[in-house]
Symmetry: C2
Subunit: 386 residues, 2 copies
């Protein structure tokens, strides 16, 4: 195979942007836009004008059966990510699914099972994994430079979204349309990075507010307390109601403290590990000596293009994926668990997560929703917003 023929399903904000990057800007070597698909006539007409010669489909199944594509990029609303991915696998297609993997873990478990049965490449658009800052941070942690984790505090309050955003689509910020608020829309990236760097927390307890800042039914303010298997504790804070907000990730470990803020990594490195110091030290107020180290970050953040490149190379050459699709369940489990903890006013054990009950409680919210949005979808330029 010389190149991968991809079909993009869903020509909203993200799907349209991916089409342009592939077909107009030729940013992904080996990847050819072979078809597009959208249920909206307006979007199909747009594609016909923008990408003359590229076949346009109304229905996914027709595109899947067309023989025109080897792979599909699923960029439809969240709820349909798993079903359209599962159908694609059944047609022998490679799948790149937008984040989140789905809205509730139950459907994502089914998607992962379909992927496991298939011999096709399965990838998820966790484009922030291409950020060299987080790649470097992960390397430091996994190489043991931080030592055993004691605490993580991630303040992610820079996802500001005004009321105009929530009003910009009828599906937006509703249980029925998106299945959640900022946890399911903006935070999948951060929740994935959190588990990608540190592994999964063991249990959590959350404090979630719904429609605190905006006229929406879903969450716009979240605090979660996390506990890890080794006893380390953590706090995850996010909101769409604060501006300018903060994105500051602090990891505290036996060998010091790492702070990531403003795309800089600062490592306050203990000359000897704290636990070792503690065992031998006899002075009541003595600390380990700590050095403030600026950690070099090399490389460029290729974002979505980087994930599409990784996907293409995995198909063409069998290289490992930066962001395997099966891993989408992890961040979503944290996300679902944060909702679930507030809904049930209790701890949630992530290893024993009750996928069925979460789904039931989500369905209840959809059923009791009083939201009636009259607005229609509007595709906007999303450069720099993800």
């Amino acid at each position: 195979m010389e190149f991968v023929r991809i079909g993009i399903i869903g020509l909203g904000n993200m799907g349209s942007s991916h089409c342009i990057q592939i077909h107009i800007e030729h940013k992904v070597p080996g990847l050819k836009l072979a078809a597009v698909c959208d249920i909206s006539e307006e979007r199909r007409e747009w594609a016909g004008r923008e990408f003359p010669g590229v076949p346009v489909f109304e229905h996914a199944t027709d595109m899947y059966q067309s023989g025109l594509i080897d792979a599909v990029l699923v960029a439809v609303p969240h709820y349909d990510h798993p079903s359209l991915s599962i159908e694609a696998f059944s047609h022998g297609l490679h799948v790149l699914v937008e984040k989140p993997a789905g809205v509730y873990t139950k459907q994502v478990l089914m998607m992962n099972a379909a992927a496991a049965k298939s011999d096709k490449v399965f990838c998820i658009m966790y484009n922030q994994r291409t950020n060299p800052v987080y790649q470097k941070l992960r390397e430091l942690v996994q190489d043991g430079e931080l030592g055993e984790l004691k605490r993580v505090v991630w303040i992610v309050t820079d996802w500001y979204r005004p009321q105009a955003y929530h009003d910009s689509g009828s599906w937006r910020s509703t249980w029925k349309g998106e299945g959640g608020g900022t946890l399911i829309n903006q935070n999948p990236h951060n929740l994935d990075l959190l588990q990608w760097i540190l592994g999964m927390p063991k249990r959590l307890r959350s404090f979630v507010s719904f429609g605190k800042y905006y006229n929406i039914e879903v969450e716009d303010d979240v605090t979660a307390y996390l506990e890890y298997a080794n006893g380390a504790s953590g706090v995850y804070i996010t909101s769409t109601g604060e501006s300018p907000g903060t994105n500051r990730l602090e990891l505290s470990g036996d060998r010091g403290k790492i702070v990531v803020e403003n795309n800089k990594i600062t490592f306050h490195r203990n000359r000897i590990p704290e636990r070792e110091h503690n065992r031998s030290n006899t002075e009541p107020f003595k600390r380990p000596e700590a050095w403030v180290c600026d950690i070099p970050v090399v490389g460029t953040n290729e974002d979505h293009v980087g994930i599409m490149k990784s996907f293409t190379q995995a198909i063409l050459k069998g290289t490992p994926l930066l962001s395997p699709g099966e891993e989408g369940i992890h961040g979503l489990t944290i996300s679902n668990a944060i909702h679930y903890s507030t809904w049930t006013n209790d701890w949630v054990d992530l290893e024993q997560f009750n996928h069925d009950h979460f789904h039931e409680l989500l369905l209840e919210r959809i059923q009791h929703s009083k939201v009636e949005k009259k607005l229609s979808q509007k595709v906007v330029d999303v450069t720099g917003t993800y």
Copy 2:
């Protein structure tokens, strides 16, 4: 009255340091060290050598009745702060009490009642109120510069105390000796500043670990989730087990975000308030413009000397106290509530705090304590540790 004759009761780390600042270094104009008192013979002998001519007492009552003093500085172990202060008021003495006001709110309510009945000056050693950084921050908040509070996150993990510290006194880090760990020993300053700057939270829920990092029975790791009456949320994090640790206070409000770290105040100021922007804005991804402002901090941090000066001037000239004794109950209520929430595994409403039940649960812990420390007290230089 030309000067205030003060008696200092308790010649441990803090009391000894106060004696030296007053009597040897003459740092507090108008304040004269007129007597000292300690139950330890060794400490009385030390005082006799260091401060020749200053009367030395073994028992507080004798010093109180001596007619030699107008005021007392109570620097004994925490549990005895209220009782010795109450007795001092009954002898017509002005009282400066070390922090914390007491170990449990029930006893502090009694102390405040005694102070209210007295016409004497009552002050508490919240020496961090003299820090011009926190004074400036308070001014910004109280003048409305931040706008309505949305969130506070205070990471106070720079109170590192190794095992050698916990082993340095038989009373240290025990329920019986101190009535708690880092909440009652190091954090009273921060919890006071928190309420001094923002007012009291309405309710909280906590996640406290006891003896997580050290061989102690009391807490050394704390996370608390706070809610304010206006709906603002907060997180307070502290630990004695991390080094180098962090002291970073972030306030997020309608008019921007203020970050205090490394004794610097940075105000990310919105050009127009976020709520106003949100009402008029029609663009889905548009934020208010924010300016990064370095806030000037003027003045010196006089610390304990500053509080002793304020106390002296209040007695001599009737000037307002920087740190009225009656306000000691606020930070202690937060502290007690953080213990109580973990003990009862429930929310704590601070306006309806169950003072009696907290006290009962504390007594249970004292009763069931298995700690037997064989170590004796050692007075160490505490410069720069409070």
